[in-house]
Amino acid sequence: MELQAIYIQFLALALFSIGLVVAISRRNIFFVLMGVELALNAVNLSFVGFSKTLPDTLSVTGQIVPLFTIAIAAAEACVGLAMVILIFRNRESMDANTYSNMKG
C-alpha cells in the first residue's frame, strides 16, 4: 500500500463537490464565498497532484499555476467582500435570497 496519485484526485474531487454544494445551496452570503474558496483549493490540490505524475521539467508548471490561483483568489475575496459590505449597507441582511432585486 503506497500513496497513489489517484487518491489525491479523489480527495480533490470530494472537496470540490463539497465546495460547490456549499456555494450553491447555502443561503448566507459568507458561506457562498467560502464555498468558492473551498472549490478553488480543491482545484489547486488537483493541479499539484497531476503535476507529480509528469516527468522532470514538465512537472514544474503544475506547481507554478497554484500560486497564480491563490493570488487571483485573494483578488476575488477582496472585491467580493467589498461588494458584500456595500450590499449589506442597503439590505441589512446576510441572506443571499434577499439580494435578488432583478426579477428573473
Binding site: 500500500m1 503506497e2 500513496l3 496519485a5 489517484i6 487518491y7 489525491i8 484526485q9 479523489f10 480527495l11 474531487l13 470530494a14 472537496l15 463537490s17 463539497i18 454544494v21 450553491i24 445551496s25 447555502r26 459568507f30 458561506f31 464565498l33 467560502m34 474558496e37 473551498l38 483549493n41 489547486n44 499539484v48 497532484g49 497531476f50 503535476s51 507529480k52 505524475t53 509528469l54 522532470d56 512537472s59 514544474v60 508548471t61 506547481q63 507554478i64 497554484p66 500560486l67 497564480f68 491563490i70 493570488a71 487571483i72 483568489a73 485573494a74 483578488a75 476575488e76 475575496a77 477582496c78 472585491v79 467582500l81 467589498a82 461588494m83 459590505i85 456595500l86 446576510m94 441572506d95
Partner: protein, 177 residues
C-alpha cells in the same frame, strides 16, 4: 506506507472540516473550519513535494484571505439573521446534481491510468523562483503573468476601496445614520 498514513490523516481532517463548513450555522465557525481545511491541505502539498505551494497556502490563504473574511464576518455580525433556514428548496436539487457530477468525474478518474512519476521535480523555493523569474527567451514566460497579476491585485484593491468607502463629501450623511 508512512506517506499513505499521513495522507489519510490530513485528508480526513480536510474532508471533515469541509463538511463542518457545510453544516455549521454561524459563519465564523465555518470560516475557522475552512482555515483548518486549508492548513491540512498545505500539509498535503508538503507531503506531495511542493513545499513552496504549501507555505504560500498557509501564508496567503489561511493567513490573509481567511483573516479578511473572518474580519468582515465579525464587522458585519454575519449571524444576525441566523433565524432564516440554512437551505431552501433549491438545495434538494443541487445536492443530487453535484453527487451525480462527482460520480461521473470519479468514474472518469478511475478509468484514467495515472501514477506518480519518480522524476518529478520537488517544488522548492529555488526551483519555483528560477521558473517564475526566468526572463530568458527560452523560458516559459511566467514573469509576464507575474506582472499582470500585480496589476490585477492593484486594480482589485482600488475597486475594493472604491466600493466599500462612503461617497466623497457625504460625511454628514454618514453621521445621520
Amino acid at each position: 506506507m508512512l506517506a499513505l498514513i499521513y495522507f489519510i490523516i490530513l485528508g480526513v481532517i480536510a474532508l471533515g472540516s469541509a463538511i463542518c463548513v457545510f453544516l455549521s450555522r454561524h459563519p465564523l465557525y465555518g470560516a475557522l473550519s475552512l482555515v483548518l481545511s486549508m492548513v491540512s491541505l498545505a500539509g498535503i502539498y508538503g507531503l506531495l513535494g511542493s513545499p513552496f505551494v504549501g507555505v504560500v497556502q498557509i501564508m496567503v490563504y489561511a493567513g490573509a484571505i481567511m483573516m479578511l473574511l473572518t474580519f468582515v464576518i465579525m464587522v458585519l455580525n454575519g449571524a444576525r439573521d441566523s433565524k432564516t433556514p440554512m437551505f431552501d428548496k433549491v438545495s434538494l436539487f443541487v445536492i443530487p446534481a453535484v453527487l451525480a457530477l462527482s460520480g461521473l468525474v470519479g468514474f472518469a478518474l478511475v478509468q484514467a491510468p495515472i501514477a506518480f512519476d519518480a522524476s518529478a521535480l520537488r517544488g522548492s523555493v529555488a526551483l519555483t523562483s528560477q521558473t517564475l523569474f526566468d526572463t530568458s527567451s527560452k523560458g516559459q514566460g511566467y514573469f509576464v503573468l507575474f506582472e499582470v497579476l500585480g496589476l490585477l491585485l492593484l486594480s482589485a484593491m482600488v475597486a475594493a476601496v472604491l466600493l466599500a468607502k462612503k461617497r466623497l463629501g457625504s460625511i454628514n450623511e454618514g453621521e445621520d445614520k
